[in-house]
Point group: C2
Chain length 257, copies 2
């Protein structure tokens, strides 16, 4: 039975996509069957794995709104055991269209149900908002939400609202929704700011913050332009070693399920 995590944080540019893509790739390399679900209209996770949104017959939009089975939407990637449910720009209009549909918050959870036994992990990349698409991701995340937190002051500010939204989704849509972990990202050891933010996050979430801290590393920003995860683009870079370590921690925390 697949373990499902959503990667969510409404603050923009904190490393949601980079974390979802690279953890997916390391999980697949470790032998797990992984489905990455891209519910961000920007489709950054889709392009980060080398797919072009314009060449695809279907996207997650069709599975959420157009009643195409999700199995028909899924595409292979260059990495063995790693598949993706790609996004498309059509998804930008989805939130308005979904408002009219009964059970609009559970469309993704329903679409995933027939696929649970074919994957070991299902990871969901969310857009930078707390709208209906992100709520669909949280409602589908049976095993919890992983929150990337950029080591910046403004990234701290948004955590309260995110926790409130998680609480609401847990009460109304997904009783199993918990914080599976917080990942400190873009950490720059040379700056006080990074150290202060990291200390603050550890103070508030002592048991949930992952040990692994993702450093700022330019290779992580370069990899998407080649359509590759860091694992193949720069496997011995600081970014790669950190995401490999984070993935081992996620596997460790997943064994309880």
């Amino acid at each position: 039975m697949a373990i499902i995590y959503a990667f969510a944080n409404q603050k923009g540019g904190v490393g949601k996509t980079t974390t979802a893509v690279n953890v997916s790739a390391y999980l697949a390399a470790a032998g797990y069957r992984v489905l990455l679900v891209d519910i961000d209209p920007q489709a950054n996770a889709t392009s980060s794995l080398g797919l072009s949104v314009h060449d695809l017959p279907h996207s997650i939009y069709d599975a959420l709104i157009g009643a195409v089975p999700l199995a028909n939407v899924i595409q292979p990637t260059r990495r063995p055991r790693l598949t993706i449910a790609p996004s498309s720009p059509a998804l930008a209009g989805a939130e308005v269209e979904m408002v009219e549909i009964d059970g609009r918050e559970r469309l993704l959870a329903q679409a995933l149900t027939p696929l649970l036994r074919y994957h070991d992990f299902i990871l969901i990349d969310s857009p930078p908002s707390l709208g209906l698409l992100t709520v669909n991701g949280l409602a589908a995340a049976r095993n919890g939400v992983i929150i990337p937190v950029q080591c910046e002051y403004l990234a701290l500010e948004g955590l309260t609202r995110l926790l409130q939204t998680i609480q609401l989704v847990r009460e109304r849509l997904n009783p199993g929704l918990r914080i599976a972990g917080l990942v400190l990202t873009m950490y720059d050891a040379r700056t006080n700011l990074s150290q202060q933010v990291a200390a603050e996050v550890r103070r508030h979430f002592p048991r949930q913050v992952f040990e692994t801290v993702i450093p700022r590393n330019v290779r992580l920003g370069e990899a998407p332009s080649y359509g590759e995860p860091i694992l193949t683009y720069a496997p011995s870079s600081a970014g790669a070693l950190a995401y490999a370590a984070l993935t081992r921690e996620i596997i460790g925390r997943s064994l309880r399920f």
Copy 2:
């Protein structure tokens, strides 16, 4: 008659708020009467200028949806001649509420109309999406949109969709909407990635990219935690000098109006 610019880019974390806040502060320091309008539910521009969303009687939400005159929402800041129409978390639910209202894309433009002669510049900070709030900002931006572009590959990818949205708003809501300029942000001279992205943006938008490039500078990330713009927090930092220079360029491009 006020000059109105929107700062927009659906890609998250590219420097929209940092640019809107710091350009506002330098314009006010140069003697202009400036109103900063925060239409992002995250309310980062509001907190970056030292206001606490929980202490305010009204927010932009009340002016857009609750028919409170915008003049009653505006708050002073610690900087002379710089006022703000603050955001609040209530704004997160606004997009769904606005869908039902006639003329929903022009609510901000209408709210600003009575205030045009009391300000020299009105700057609008947008959320990381192309939804109804951002469209309201674009529809109100009589003098154009300023697009912060982070020097990262993924930030390049979203520009096409942003241009398409600008085109749509120009055709249907605001014939005067043009690209007032693109600002390269978080430039790290040590990396090829920054240089390549900057070269690519200059190639596509030769006349519209501002000369001034904003470097990555930790002081810009620290300033919001003190509720201050860079102008008072670290006035001789690389970040401050760059935003001062950018503001001079914006004033130069505004003289044509």
